[in-house]
């Protein structure tokens, strides 16, 4: 029987060998394969380490030149070689914030629809359609945002916002005109569309993981669907929902092409979300190939390092929370 196994293993196909020799070969093959897979697994760790080290080395000249001031300086002047990161950092945070403010409630509402309201036969098609949204590459959202969404916003939503909030103090600086079409708000909207599928599908999965007994008990008490979701499902699924939101946030912070198309690339901090701005990733995408001089390149790499550190922290929190959830489910 074991002779047959050895034959099938293809080891003794070429010449007869002793049992001892054959077993030795098999053991060696096993060790080699094990070593190979282990090396590949370590290589994944190596990639992350190499990314961090390469970015640090590349960013070093700029960080040495500008020191901590790099983080809080608003100047971005390639001619005089003075660079500060606060405008792109601000743009990254504000666009992501707008995206989350829109995408989180909408995503949770869709997840509620899919788990509580939707007829069974519609669940799968709608779920797949939402996930297809996640598959569309960001450059497609960019070209759509530039040629379709931005002109539309310029003619409809933005004038309306300016007119609506014009007389209101404080809000009239947030929505100060003119309506360019492109700008921080448009970038935030595009980002909202892009992170929506991630939030929706994770929220749907954790909503579905709520034990039916809990929901049935609440329904049995006479709760409405909304009350069941609000007071039973959401508290139970809280950790997973936060994990999903953080995952979406990680995506929004690092998103490049879609934002580059519609943000307008202006290196300044404006109080108005209708004004053009820039983000870390858009700055790098726009300027890196045209950057002359080591300091300019280094400043852009330093921006990349900041972005990587921010997303690393956000994604780590997200994964940690989702991991906790898996442990609790006893996988």
């Amino acid at each position: 029987m074991s002779e047959f196994a050895l034959q099938a293993g293809g080891v003794s196909r070429f010449r007869p060998m002793s049992r001892q020799e054959a077993l030795g070969r098999l053991r060696l093959g096993d060790l080699v394969f094990r070593g190979l897979t282990r090396a590949a697994a370590l290589a994944v760790l190596g990639v992350l380490g190499a990314v961090i080290i390469a970015l640090m080395v590349g960013a070093w000249p700029a960080l040495r030149e500008f020191g901590f001031g790099f983080l809080i300086d608003e100047t971005w002047n390639p001619v005089t070689e003075r660079f500060g990161a606060i405008a792109p950092i601000y743009g990254t945070l504000v666009t992501s914030l707008i995206a989350m403010v829109i995408a989180v409630p909408v995503g949770l509402m869709i997840a509620m629809f899919l788990t509580e309201l939707c007829p069974m036969w519609l669940r799968r098609p709608i779920g797949i359609a939402i996930e297809l949204l996640a598959g569309i590459p960001s450059i497609i959202y960019g070209i759509w945002g530039l040629f379709v969404l931005a002109p539309f916003l310029q003619q409809t939503l933005q004038p309306a916002l300016i007119a609506l909030f014009g007389p209101v103090p404080l809000l009239n600086t947030v929505f100060a005109g003119p309506p360019y079409g492109i700008g921080v708000l448009t970038a935030g909207l595009i980002l909202a569309i892009m992170v929506l599928p991630f939030i929706t599908s994770i929220a749907r999965d954790v909503f579905e993981a709520v034990p039916p007994v809990l929901k049935e008990a609440a329904y049995g008490l006479g709760c409405t669907t909304w009350e069941v979701v609000r007071y039973v499902v959401l508290p139970y699924a809280r950790v997973g929902v936060i994990g999903g939101v953080m995952l979406g946030l990680g995506r929004a912070l690092g998103e490049t092409m879609a934002v580059t198309f519609v943000i307008g690339n202006a290196h300044r901090i404006s109080g108005s979300i209708l004004a053009p701005g820039t983000t870390i990733s858009a700055t790098i995408a726009n300027e890196f190939t045209e950057a002359v001089g080591d300091l300019y390149t280094s400043a852009l790499i330093a921006l990349g390092l900041i972005l990587f550190v921010i997303t690393l922290i956000v994604l780590s929190i997200a994964r940690y929370l989702l991991l906790q959830l898996e442990r609790r489910a006893g996988v």
């Binding site: 394969f33 509620m112 959202y141 912070l253 690092g254 994964r319």
Partner: protein
Amino acid sequence: MDSRYAARRRRNTIAMGLSIAATFVGLSVLVLVLMALLWHGVGGLSLAVFTEMTPPPGSAGGLLNPLFGSLALTVLAIAIGTPLGVLAGTYLAEYGRYGRLAAVVRFINDILLSAPSIVIGLFIYEVVVAPMGHFSGFAGALALAVIVIPVVLRTTEDMLRMVPDALREAAASIGLPRALMIRRIAYRAARAGMVTGVLLAIARITGETAPLLFTALNNQFWSTNLNAPIASLPVVIFQFALSPYADWQRLAWTGALLITVTVLALSIIARSLVNPGKSQ
């Protein structure tokens, strides 16, 4: 008592209405994007798109060189990234399933999966382009390979873990060494799922632009030299869409349509491979 009940009912109706509206909005965005792509992109579709080079502004042309470039970069990236991803996934699922190393790699891999792709581009620029002194197709393919690895690793591990342990025990009981058991039995049982991982990885890198901007750069002309800058579809779309020339913009829309159709087709095929005929 009665009015309180009515208020609860009303609140419920509002919430349900909002959730239907949210779903409607989500779906209509998908429809709007696809409609815009068809509207602007189909008109430009012709044989010339697949047979002619990218034109200078103001004259007719096609997308042959970026199409070829994208294909070459994708093939190379998959060829580099897939073996690494599969091997590492195998380690996580088979050898080190409950080990500490596997837990760490799993965590890091999940982070790499959503890491900003533009940072990957910067990384490859630092370690490949800068030392070599010039942009190249190889650098672009390497950047894409770094994006391929986590996708393939994740699906490989998930699919191998779905292989019942009874199969592994049966193989062990007839004296099959572990390496052979994995290659002959576990891989065979998980094959469809692993192919899915590769398809998803292709779909992921088909539209990737950011990591190519300063690795593979771009090329106006026909070039098959991977040691030199090479055109790719996403980068050409980026350049053409932001240009002021109407015929360049039209080509950008056509390219965008081609990419979207490819990506959607790949993800639908991948989906049907994993659970054929599964319906709920």
